[in-house]
């Protein structure tokens, strides 16, 4: 059995291969950057042309922004159904699969009635396994078959993000504030703690809706999805939409006055009480700890 995979840089595509291998031993790949500048309709057109040529049993990609975009275009173009963000998928006539809804808070068990399943694989679901890699399809002969209108939608400019600060998606520690922070000014203590830990500031949807923080800080289903080593949730109740953004954190520390808050079920550690007292106390304790470190000799016998 042949399977066609749309490959991007990054772990998500390698994870997708783990599922793709179930669909066929003979794997072929088209690269997301096969058309430069990026033109999603052109990539979808390439996939359709290659699929006509190789007749794969399924077409898979990682459920990234571009993965879901291009696969939806492929599905629209070929008149086939498309299942986004699958966590389980079985080859065969039944086309049974499980996909994510509501961020990743709900599973949909479904049947894909299609001669050629078009599937994206939910990121952070599968382990990257050692195994055969797909062979890259030489797309040169197919590029000449693209139509002008396939190039109509293309990236014409890239605006670099303003520098400074730690990126939410890359931070090892994210200190996040919710309704409990109380105001825009209330975030000063959150920023202080994040700064001491070399981390980024996050927030919940209530906070951005109130205009206390920009939407770029929002963690959650409709904000940014993050996977830091430590997520500190201050005054955040932990609604499913919020947890969809931070579920992949290695550890979660909840600081909350409500022991019944849903965040408590999802946290590894908790401190109960008023975050306005607790957060500054933690910052002060960290300063004390750092001061002691600065005075003591470095470990391993070296001296500064």
């Amino acid at each position: 059995m042949t399977v066609l995979v749309l490959m991007e840089h990054g772990d998500a595509s390698m994870e997708a291969l783990t599922l793709a291998r179930k669909f066929g031993a003979e794997m072929h790949a088209v690269r997301m950057d096969a058309v430069q500048p990026f033109a999603p309709d052109a990539v979808a057109a390439l996939l359709a042309l290659v699929a006509d040529h190789l007749n794969p049993s399924a077409v898979l990609a990682a459920g990234t922004d571009r993965g879901n975009d291009v696969m939806a275009r492929l599905a629209a173009r070929t008149g086939l159904p498309f299942a986004a963000n699958c966590v389980v998928a079985e080859p065969g006539d039944q086309g049974s699969l499980t996909r994510l809804r509501w961020g990743d808070s709900l599973w949909e068990i479904a049947r894909l009635n299609s001669p050629r399943p078009i599937i994206t694989v939910a990121p952070h679901t599968f382990a990257i396994e050692d195994g055969p890699l797909p062979s890259e399809v030489d797309v040169t002969p197919f590029l000449t078959q693209l139509e002008d209108k396939d190039m109509l939608v293309r990236v014409s400019e890239h605006v670099a993000a303003a520098g400074g600060g730690v990126l939410l998606t890359e931070a090892k520690v994210v200190v996040s504030g919710g309704r409990g922070v109380g105001s825009k000014e209330g975030f000063a203590i959150i920023e202080e703690l994040a700064g001491l830990l070399g981390g980024a500031v996050g927030c919940s949807r209530v906070v951005t809706s109130a205009g206390w923080r920009p939407h770029t800080d929002q963690v959650g289903q409709t904000g940014t999805k993050i996977a830091p080593d430590l997520y500190i949730a201050c005054g955040i109740s932990g609604a499913t939409q919020h947890m969809a953004g931070c579920r992949n954190a290695k550890r979660i520390l909840a600081i909350n006055s409500d022991v019944e808050a849903p965040i408590m079920v999802n946290a590894d550690y908790a401190v109960i009480g008023d975050l306005k007292e607790i957060v500054p106390a933690i910052s002060a304790e960290i300063r004390k700890h750092l001061a002691v470190l600065a005075e003591s000799p470095l470990p391993g016998g070296e001296r500064a």
């Binding site: 509501w102 049947r111 939608v153 890239h158 409709t222 520390l253």
Partner: protein
């Protein structure tokens, strides 16, 4: 300028997902409903565009009778009129949803002129299929950019900005075009009382399309099991600070 925004009625979920007895939907008896968040920003953007460019804004939904509430909400914010394709509340898959929307758009355009811009959410909050907008665009043979955080029409084209790693990618599409947007595009306004009163008098065109057989067929829903974590309480109040620092040290973040 004529602008359309497509929305979906979805429940407000809280801290826990509870399924209906047949596991085919969420138990919504105790839940309120809202417009899917990305689409709320689409509504706001459509209202702003017509405020500054003149013309007409239209909101469309495919959903149960109760979805009239979300159409009124959109009109309370300033949308001029609504199209309601009424269903019995059962699920429509993305392909069927898109086909019904295309039909409604064609009918509306035949009667009152073409839409310059059609807004969708990047994905619905509930079923998150990531495809209805793109399917509609393909069927109408119009360009489409997805996941947008900024949409600026000018002189027969629309500048679209999409957040990507390290910044933003810009697409410039000729109009008419379809765009799918994300929360953060703008900060939606709250409806005013006069807005609500005006909305009650705005026209809603209804139809009852037949539901085709789904090709992505929902069999049942399931709530994923939690990680079975048991939370370790480090303390109460500011006196917990030393225990927190100890945890930070052990976790290697300090």
């Amino acid at each position: 300028m004529k602008v359309l925004v497509c929305i979906k009625r979805v429940p407000f979920t809280g801290g826990k997902m509870v399924l209906a007895p047949d596991a085919m939907s969420l138990e919504t008896k105790h839940l309120g409903f809202t417009i899917s968040p990305h689409e709320e920003c689409g509504v706001e953007e459509a209202v702003r565009l017509i405020e500054s460019n003149k013309g007409e804004s239209v909101v469309l939904t495919l959903g149960p009778l109760e979805a009239a509430e979300q159409l009124r909400d959109a009109m309370a914010l300033g949308i001029d009129r609504a199209i309601h394709m009424q269903t019995d509340g059962s699920e429509w898959d993305a392909g069927a949803t898109a086909a019904a929307i295309v039909e409604a758009i064609r009918a509306d355009e035949a009667a009152s002129g073409p839409f310059d811009l059609i807004f969708f959410g990047n994905e619905s909050a509930d079923s998150a299929g990531f495809q209805v907008g793109l399917r509609v665009a393909r069927a109408l043979d119009r360009p489409c950019a997805t996941g947008l955080k900024r949409v600026v029409p000018a002189d027969g084209s629309v500048r679209c900005e999409q957040e990507v790693e390290g910044g933003r990618d810009v697409y410039v599409l000729p109009l008419p075009a379809v765009v799918t947007v994300r929360e953060g595009l703008n900060l939606p306004r709250y409806p005013s009382v006069p807005g609500r009163m005006r909305a009650a008098r705005k026209p809603v065109a209804t139809s009852t399309p037949a539901r085709p057989k789904p090709r992505l067929e929902l069999m049942r829903l399931a709530v994923p099991e939690g990680k079975g974590k048991s939370v370790q309480v480090l303390g109460t109040g500011p006196s917990a600070a030393p225990a927190v620092v100890e945890m930070l040290r052990k976790a290697g973040v300090l």
